[in-house]
Symmetry: C2
Amino acid sequence: MTGRLTVVGLGPGTADLTTPAVIKALAEATDLIGYITYLDRAPAGPPGQRRHASDNRVELDRARHALALAAEGHNVVVVSGGDPGVFAMAAAVFEAVESGDAAWRALDIRIEPGVTAMLAAAAEVGAPLGGDFCAISLSDNLKSWTTIERRLKAAAEGDFVIALYNPASRARPDQLGKALEYVRAFKAPDTPVVFVRAAGTPDAKVRIQELGSADAAGVDMRTLVLIGSSLTRKIERPDALPWIYTLRSEREPS
Amino acid sequence: MTGRLTVVGLGPGTADLTTPAVIKALAEATDLIGYITYLDRAPAGPPGQRRHASDNRVELDRARHALALAAEGHNVVVVSGGDPGVFAMAAAVFEAVESGDAAWRALDIRIEPGVTAMLAAAAEVGAPLGGDFCAISLSDNLKSWTTIERRLKAAAEGDFVIALYNPASRARPDQLGKALEYVRAFKAPDTPVVFVRAAGTPDAKVRIQELGSADAAGVDMRTLVLIGSSLTRKIERPDALPWIYTLRSEREPS
């Protein structure tokens, strides 16, 4: 088969965070497939490039469509935001490969990494991911709330910094509030909690609270939430939000 | 103060994974500071740009040097590989700010995110980070082995995929072997373990083993190690290494 399937991540928002490797893959593609919000961010392609926009909810169908087009010999790019391997399309593509036509296993499939949301969110406030950290999706479309609590508990017991993806949606407005309440049993009330909306864009909005009084109001799917570890610190600044960072060391800075 | 300090991440290896925002920051800098390996990867700057190469071991001194130059009015860029906020220079810069001259808190400090190693390593083999995951540095320069074991245990109990940074060095050749042995108590012996050296470069080398028999031989500081969760799967392919990916869902693919 001569077709190719590349799964790319555009990064967290603006074009200056999209890698040249992703731009090149988009420019060579005969077919782009993705959620319409992401397709709209892809630069104009060569004449004849086809764009297959789809609803965000049908990831596995979209993956199968992409694989079928590649198997026909097209050069297909599946477009994600952020990094395609982090709560995005790459895993759905491999699920579709595993359960699909055996011939799909011989396809030339490539993944082009990108800047995932937690990195851009961290960069907006300092270096909160400076120590060991976890990334957890709060979406319970694909896993149970029991599993989410198990992960939150383990992350707190390990004293990890926690990055929460997909913290809320119209269908699940209370998810983040429940998660914050659950984590309060395990972490100190003065643990910094950072909410970053639209990280990596000129519209980025940052809110910094302490875990004891952190509230989930105003949080949506474009928000990334970071909960500190015991080594996460706040540096007050004149006329600006404080810097938040996590000590690399268990010892105090010298 | 008119100086500026920007901490950038070049990404995992080749220029096609460096963001345009980072390239722009490098091009505007009067002074670059970093480990010589990273400075050598930065494109040639404007006439008069100064490059301050340093040994990799003195991160806090390097951070203070950068802050002092910025406080004098220079446009300083601190250069990291990968993402600057993940086991790299950004946290050291904020440590230096917190413990340093109060005037440094008024400096214009920016962090430019990058593609961190685990994303490029994951992309080499499929989508192993498709579920919730943790990142742990095995370097014990800055934390105790007790803390490392605490984190490994929590990550395993939470059934996270685990990304291990800094898995070994000449000073600590046995660290990864100890970590794998420790994790065996908590995860199934057939859990996929992926070793990716020089991820995101044409020299990338991948080794896939099972946890029960995984061995740390040949692993160095350029290697990223990924240990699967209970939902991490292997897709055999003709004439190629298998794909490794983690199910997004607790249910089997349909």
